[in-house]
């Protein structure tokens, strides 16, 4: 005879029919896998190409403009300095905000006086998927 607790558990859980996997599950998985693969690699590659092209164009335009302006030597040096620092920083910040912030904090150290703690954003992050050292360690 069935245990009354078992009967009650079955009746309670049975209020909702157990779900069944859809017929397209494998197709959907493969679609998601395929969508992630080129997206990750392709986006990074496209960003790098865009960064490189922007860099070259900005550098060419800066040389052209700065060479023609009737500025004093000091102003010209300042303009070159700004162009050389700000342009890569702006593009880097768009791609790697944490590294750009880390770089700025690093540059600001002498201005702020004392040594500062390493900014969290610039610290290397532990990989999200831990390396299991033994067979007993479960994958996440």
């Amino acid at each position: 005879m069935e245990d009354p607790v078992e009967r009650l558990i079955r009746r309670t859980l049975g209020r909702r029919a157990p779900p069944k996997p859809g017929p397209m599950l494998a197709d959907d998985v493969l679609r998601r896998v395929a969508a992630r693969q080129p997206a990750a690699g392709g986006r990074r590659g496209a960003s790098r190409r865009w960064l490189m092209a922007s860099w070259l164009m900005t550098a060419a335009a800066s040389i052209e403009v700065l060479a023609r302006l009737p500025w004093s030597d000091g102003a010209r040096t300042l303009a070159w300095g700004l162009a050389l620092v700000l342009v890569p920083l702006a593009y880097s910040a768009a791609l790697w905000p944490d590294r750009a912030l880390g770089f700025l904090v690093l540059c600001a150290r002498p201005l702020l006086g004392g040594p500062l703690d390493e900014p969290a954003a610039a610290s290397p992050r532990w990989p999200s998927g831990h390396r299991s050292r033994g067979a007993s360690r479960a994958p996440s």
């Binding site: 607790v5 078992e6 859980l13 896998v33 479960a138 994958p139 996440s140």
Partner: protein, 192 residues
């Protein structure tokens, strides 16, 4: 094209790593999708506000990402089900606030009750039991769902979780005992 269906999982994984042939990964998914889905659904349970199909897909995407870390020390299926278990438990924990209270619409009319009063009592009793099941430790709850909700046999549960059948029986027995005690505390009679 992938290996013939008779080839073991570990060989398929190795071939997939070499060739990156999507049909090989499809073969792995098709072999295990049913069981992974049932495991995910069992861990989520009937009252969780999460979609088992969606989560099963997520698990397989995660498996794909982590496939290079599979070192063949255990069977692929063991590795896969463990990953499924951990991933689903993690998602369920994050969704806990939404599933804390068993939705009342999930416990509608009781088929066994004879009158309105008895129906109301049955509903209340089942609502209490549903909450008690939800409150069981993760492993007990999952095993209860697998056995009593998804109708999986003890051996099947044991194989999925990678534990002996005796341990599964013991989990079920302890879960029932715990439910019996807590139901008594909640004033539910007739469960002895």
């Amino acid at each position: 094209m992938g290996s013939p269906p008779g080839t073991d999982d570990e060989a398929v994984v190795a071939a997939y790593r070499r060739t990156r042939d999507p049909d090989l990964f499809r073969l792995l998914v098709e072999r295990h999708q049913e069981r992974v889905f049932r495991l995910v659904a069992s861990i989520l349970g009937p009252f969780a506000d999460l979609d088992a199909e969606e989560l099963t897909q997520e698990v397989f995407v995660r498996v794909h990402e982590r496939l290079d870390t599979f070192r063949g020390e255990a069977r692929f299926s063991t590795w896969l089900y463990r990953l499924t278990y951990n991933r689903t438990i993690d998602r369920r924990r994050r969704a806990r606030l939404r599933t804390e209270h068993v939705p009342s619409e999930s416990l509608e009319e009781s088929a066994t009750s004879t009158g309105p009063l008895e129906a109301a009592l049955d509903r209340e009793r089942e609502r209490v039991v549903a909450r008690l099941i939800e409150g069981l430790p993760e492993l007990y709850r999952s095993v209860v769902h697998m056995h009593y909700w998804m109708d999986q046999s003890i051996d099947e549960i044991a194989e999925t979780l990678g534990i002996p059948a005796g341990t599964v029986k013991s989990y079920l027995s302890r879960a029932r005992q715990r439910l019996r005690e807590q139901a008594r505390v909640q004033g539910i009679q007739g469960l002895e």
